[in-house]
Symmetry: C3
Subunit: 356 residues, 3 copies
């Protein structure tokens, strides 16, 4: 197959493209200082972004990682976004956009060139819409979307093909719900993003042992996704059993993440792919849960704690702590244990394995 | 956003609400003894359920966990479901509903106030239905559902929006298939519940090494979900390769669970979120597999065994055993190992790290 | 429920059935030598496949695993596919189809009797198709499928109900996209298979820390699935951030697998269920990643390396290496560590636990 039809990043088949922009617009967007050296770039119309290796004189590139500093010296990019530490290494003919937060500056400039597709207000004629549902006229509802009764959809919100939204759900402004998302028993704030196949509000895992097997305990809470929350593809967030499951403002969940009933995340938490948080556990603000980590139910994780990949957390974690391992322990202790065990095992083997 | 519009549990936007009910109806439903003390509650119309902290004199609450006993003494709930051990602590003015199985009693009373939405018989006009398919007239088929040819749908079964059911699938009575479920090559008993996005019956992971890469081994078995099975959101159950993949009656699978081809679960097994069971493994009755555990293929797990969270099971497990760790070992041994290693590592560090 | 309506494998409700076939056709298909002994089978019309235990004189069976050799001596199968090592044990009256690769031979013969359902060219009238989209007349597009603008669908490709394909996506020939698949920002080669609910091309997990929380870094790459790639149910493959996410030709991904942005897999890699590979990691050809393993980002895995189940890989892995454990280590070292720790723990316990 032919992969080279269009240059990356920003293949025109898939991405919008704005511009060109002069240097001052880029600097304003990036919140960056212009380090022009002797370069006359004020009138150059910059047309796009590209990696250091392939960028040309009309393109903008980016350096964040010290590892790639050698590429800077050889780049032909017209503009490079970078931190003050690398300004010295700018080649002649390349303008620097100098920022203390170059990755953030890059995110903004890249978004300037390649904005999200605009919302196209309107309701696809195939959508099925329940009684009492109110859709802001600036919202976009895609093909085969099903909205239950008494749903509210805010301004500028886009709901893609096949989404299924249950009765009474409230969705704020400027949300993006991807194809095949399901939402029920939930209240979504503004600027909430759900990627394809995310499941929000289904009943949690609750049952009692009866004489003839398990009997379901009704799950009578809701899911609250606060402003700016993002949920990855095929992730699942169960509604509360009697209170709410809450994802705090600005939190980001990756793909295939599981959130149990009554769980509460604070503001700006990060939950990486395939991690799972069991029921009624509470996370403070700015907690990071790395990939494939698992947290049991009914525990508390303090603000800014970091839970390592594949970590198994069975008890409370202090604010600011770094833990890893299963069961979870401080990072330092975990790697010390690994090293000591390796040494002991080597020794035991050298001694013939009979003694340790 | 305003989360306080409706009281929890049972936000009227999302949940049905029955009642009020007198105390005798609640007691009969719960199978509980009325401990009225001096309270005159026979004529009170109880209107709903609520937590101990917020319940009022016309509401029913619940105590199961010793941790919350202090809340009992201060509750204003009209009725509390509890075990005999807590009857002494009932405040004046509160009636007890005393049960040896208070959580089960609670499940039943909560379901009395908040029943599942009734099935509304009928086929949505957008549904696509194949030749020879027979749908019981009391079943409900939602918008954009696709039923293949020769499908059978039993009485009182509800199939929600966008579900896709393949040719020849048989679904029993009083089943609930959530939005976006896919079922093929499968036989479902009665009272089977699939939450949103569950995938049942797709081909298993089977291939042989050929001269030009992998070649698919046809997957010619089925999936059998026996009566009362529940499967969580976005979980996947592969059909057998030559025999069946079987989930035993009453078993409950949580979200994002993977079941490989030819796997057999006994009755009333529990598989918690993100756990995976590889092909051809067999579980006895009442086995519990905790979150994120993984079982390799072709092993046997005895009845009532309990597999801990994140456990990696590489060989047979005896009936009634409790295992955890990766590789799996008895609970006691696992935690002993953890403690001993911690001690050895501390000692090694104190000794300068050079010796162990 | 009645599970016995149809014999397995190949329940006629769910599977096509071809035949009967004479022995020579089977041998040609299998690429196998006929070991007829004194049997006169040239004219027998073989009608199907069955396990050794249940196969009759007109059926074909299969032996691959030494464990099942005793079943061979008692089988009533007309034909058994097997390796030269077992020919001696063929019972009288059973013809052997002898192959150095009996599992592959079996795959081919089983596919001969039970081919994939034929593609039925045509576009379901409910499908929604964007401007500029080109569908080969031999392709099949199912009900409620949504194809964006400027999509290309190749010859003999089948797209099942509810699939959602984004603008500009290119899909090659003889692909099978299951129900509820989502594909965007992606180029698919020929013979690509996606099982139900697979999500391809959604934005990766990328954001920068801004003054008011996280800000999304635009994800401007694509997903490339090369020829013959298969992706399991509910798996997720994020598009690249600035380059492509690439799955090499012939690779097979199981269910609930996560592939991060910019990740590159070589040819014929295997990724088993619930494994996750983080962003920008590169795998050589023929790498195996077992179930629930996790790889961090920005590392390289050499060709033919094997990553064990639940393994946590934090650094590069050499070509051909076998690793397991979290953190990953050579198989031998892992199991030595396990054994040594067990011994040390036992000893510590015998000594009263006070000394290690």
């Amino acid at each position: 197959m032919d992969r080279q039809v269009s240059a990356l990043p920003g293949d025109r088949r898939f991405f919008e493209r704005n511009g060109p922009f002069p240097i001052q617009v880029l600097a304003d967007c990036a919140g960056a200082r212009i380090e022009a050296g002797g370069v006359e770039g004020a009138d150059t119309p910059y047309v796009g972004i590209a990696p250091l290796q392939s960028a040309g004189p009309q393109e903008v590139s980016f350096l964040d990682n010290r590892r790639y500093a050698p590429l800077l010296e050889q780049t032909k990019a017209g503009v490079v976004i970078l931190s003050p530490a690398f300004v010295d290494k700018l080649p002649k003919g390349t303008i620097g956009l100098v920022s203390q937060t170059p990755y953030l500056a890059w995110a903004r400039v890249a978004s300037l060139f390649h904005p999200l597709p605009a919302v196209e207000p309107g309701i696809h004629p195939t959508a099925v819409i329940g009684a009492g549902t109110v859709i802001d006229p600036t919202a976009q509802i895609g093909p085969f979307v099903v909205l239950g009764a008494n749903v509210e959809i805010g301004a500028g919100t886009r709901i893609d093909a096949h989404a299924a939204i249950g009765d009474g759900v409230r969705i704020g402004a400027r949300c993006r719900l991807g194809s095949h998302t399901c939402v029920s028993h939930a209240l979504l704030g503004d600027r909430v993003t759900l990627l394809t196949g995310a499941r929000i509000g289904q009943e949690g895992f609750g049952f009692a042992v009866g004489p003839d097997g398990f009997e379901t305990v009704p799950q009578l809470g809701r899911v609250v996704l606060e402003d700016g929350v993002e949920v990855g593809a095929n992730s699942t967030i169960d509604r509360g059993s009697s209170q709410d499951t809450v994802i705090g403002a600005g939190s980001r969940l990756d793909n295939l993440v599981q959130i149990g009933h009554n769980t509460r995340l604070g503001r700006c938490c990060i939950v990486v792919s395939q991690a799972g948080i069991s029921g009624s556990t509470e996370l403070g603000d700015f907690v990071t849960v790395a990939a494939q980590a698992g947290l049991i139910g009914h525990i508390r994780i303090g603000a800014k704690a970091r839970i390592g990949a594949q970590c198994g957390v069975m008890s409370d974690v202090d604010a600011g702590a770094d833990v890893i391992g299963s069961p979870a322990m401080p990072f330092r202790e975990f790697f010390r244990n690994v090293a000591v065990l390796r040494r002991l095992a080597k020794k035991a083997t050298q001694n013939g394995g009979g003694e340790a």
